[in-house]
């Protein structure tokens, strides 16, 4: 029963969603189901948030390794929750939007959260360099082609690319580095991306059929699948 009910629900909803694409009177069902999912996900947030609190409180209580960081996590969680729920510092009072200019939530968002987010994103600059150094080695034919393409794109994205090949006449402008970079992105790269997307589309169909028909049941914790 514990496995049968989810499988039946999956089958019914899956078939309804497929049919709703072709049957006009059922077209609104897709949006309705999305809304249902959003509601369920919001309730599930209490589970996640509760789990987070429990783990860190446990760590604090038992003075486990790095318990000091748990204070930061819990502190941040409680402050943001209070600032949003109680509208602390909100010029409009408790009835106003939590993101009003001057509200504590908005201030923390602008001066703490956004810089942190930008910092993490900025790490990519360093990691791109270290990954390129490690990965772009001419070990075989394919790797060499990848290396040459990477070079052309990197050069094409800088003014040196144009400087190096500005002397090429207009009739052969396709050989200018920036134009070669655009050609690489427009032709072989796009062709490869489209092929991968076709494969992904077919993979999604196959996976979805397995899920809807109950052939694939591992995600329910059913080891017999």
């Amino acid at each position: 029963m514990k496995r049968q009910v989810p499988l039946i629900i999956t089958f019914l909803i899956g078939m309804i969603m497929i049919f709703s694409f072709f049957i006009p009177p059922l077209e609104g069902l897709e949006q309705t189901c999305s809304l249902f999912f959003d509601v369920i996900a919001v309730f599930a947030f209490f589970l996640g948030g509760g789990n987070l609190m429990r783990i860190h409180i446990n760590k604090l209580r038992r003075r486990k390794k790095d318990w000091g960081f748990s204070i930061v996590t819990l502190g941040g969680f409680i402050i943001m929750l209070a600032a949003g729920l109680l509208k602390i510092g909100n010029p409009g009072g408790i009835a106003a939007s939590p993101t009003t200019e001057g509200a504590l939530l908005q201030e923390i968002f602008t001066y703490v959260f956004l810089p942190l987010q930008s910092t993490m994103y900025a790490l990519l600059a360093f990691f791109v360099a270290s990954a390129s150094y490690r990965a772009f080695r001419a070990k075989n034919r394919e790797a060499t082609i990848l290396l040459i393409a990477a070079f052309v794109i990197l050069l094409g994205r800088t003014p040196f690319g144009m400087m190096l090949t500005a002397w090429i006449p207009e009739s052969f402008s396709v050989l200018q580095v920036p134009n070669m970079a655009i050609w690489i992105m427009n032709s072989p790269n796009l062709a490869g991306q489209r092929a991968i997307m076709i494969g992904i589309g077919l993979g999604v169909i196959s996976m979805s059929l397995r899920l809807i028909l109950g052939i694939e049941r591992t995600y329910l914790g059913d080891e017999s699948a």
């Binding site: 956004l114 987010q117 930008s118 994103y121 600059a125 360093f126 791109v128 360099a129 270290s130 390129s132 150094y133 490690r134 772009f136 080695r137 001419a138 070990k139 290396l147 990477a150 070079f151 990197l154 050069l155 994205r157 800088t158 003014p159 040196f160 144009m162 920036p178 134009n179 655009i182 992105m185 427009n186 790269n189 796009l190 991306q193």
Partner: protein, 317 residues
């Protein structure tokens, strides 16, 4: 940023800074190259250090390069430039703070260009986080640099509307159904900018800026293809390849990342030299980007040298 206020005679401190940075980077890479000839691998922390210097130095001691607009960018510029004064241009700010460093310069450049030409600019966004960035842009560029331009007459801010592509589905036939007022609550009917604008069909140009969803693809699918209004786009560099199929039919031009912004700015200051003093963040960011790219390319070469030499040694042994 150090400027000539601290310069010594004949040579500015910033010039000294530039030279030292380039010497440090160049010298450091040369040293690593020599090490690689002995088949020694480079610690990733050294790579990080070089990237840090390559990005920080051009910011502290401005290093800028000349840019020339490629055709895909020039077409956008030419369209804005050749449109008669008073043309209705819509700018959609569909991005968040994470994407802002890449696309905000092009958004500002578009705003400046349109206002210089005397076009009537309609600002809006489909992203909740885009609203704050739109407001910042309006304060900095529109109200800050063009105080004579009137809200409701020369430009208007429609703000953010939730609904993603559903918003586009509606404004394609009726703006007022989705935006009865602007962001300040002023009815569109009482603004002169919307006198002869009922829907997107009445616009002369749409420029969608962003890189996520909803973004340029949605604008092309729901608006551009349906009403035949010229459309251009400015997106983050990683998203640009996915939009090349739409160029040049559905998109008359496309700006990709900081490079695209820099190319547009270079074209803009060529035609309007006085705009140079208002800042060209795209061109300024090309300095770090160019140096960082050169450093990455240098490391790729060094890595391959190291790889081939160690492989040869293994074969000999």
């Amino acid at each position: 940023m150090l400027d000539t206020a601290f310069s010594i005679p004949l040579v500015a401190l910033s010039d000294i800074g530039r030279v030292i940075s380039l010497l440090v980077i160049g010298g450091g890479l040369l040293w690593i190259l020599i090490r690689s000839l002995r088949a020694k691998e480079v610690d990733r922390r050294i790579v990080f250090l070089f990237i840090f210097i390559a990005v920080a130095a051009p910011i502290l001691f401005p290093i800028t390069f000349q840019e020339r607009a490629t055709l895909i960018v020039k077409r956008v510029f030419d369209k804005v430039e050749s449109s008669p004064a008073g043309s209705k241009v819509l700018l959609a700010f569909d991005f968040d703070p994470a994407m802002a460093p890449e696309v905000q310069p092009m958004a500002d450049a578009f705003s400046r260009h349109c206002l210089e030409k005397g076009h009537k600019v309609i600002f809006m966004t489909l992203w909740a986080t885009g609203q704050a960035l739109l407001t910042q842009s309006l304060e900095r560029v529109v109200r800050g640099e063009y105080p004579d331009k009137l809200d409701g007459v020369d430009y208007i801010n429609l703000g953010f509307k939730a609904g993603n592509e559903n918003v586009l589905n509606i404004i394609v036939t009726d703006f007022r159904m989705m935006f009865p007022t602007d962001v300040n609550g002023v009815p569109l009917d009482s603004t002169s900018i919307f006198d002869d604008v009922k829907s997107c069909k009445d616009l002369d140009l749409i420029i969608a800026i962003g890189g996520g969803k909803p973004g340029v693809k949605e604008w092309v699918l729901y608006i551009g293809d349906r009403v035949n209004v010229p459309m251009a786009a400015g997106v983050a560099a990683v998203v640009a390849p996915q939009l090349y199929p739409y160029y040049p039919k559905q998109l008359l031009g496309l700006l990709g990342g900081v490079k695209g912004a820099a190319e547009y700015e270079s074209e803009l200051v060529k035609w309007y030299p006085h705009l140079k003093e208002r800042g060209t963040p795209g061109l300024r960011m090309m300095g770090p980007q160019t140096l960082a790219h050169m450093v990455v390319m240098a490391f790729i070469v060094i890595g391959n040298i190291s790889y081939f030499i160690s492989r040869r040694r293994e074969r000999i042994q």
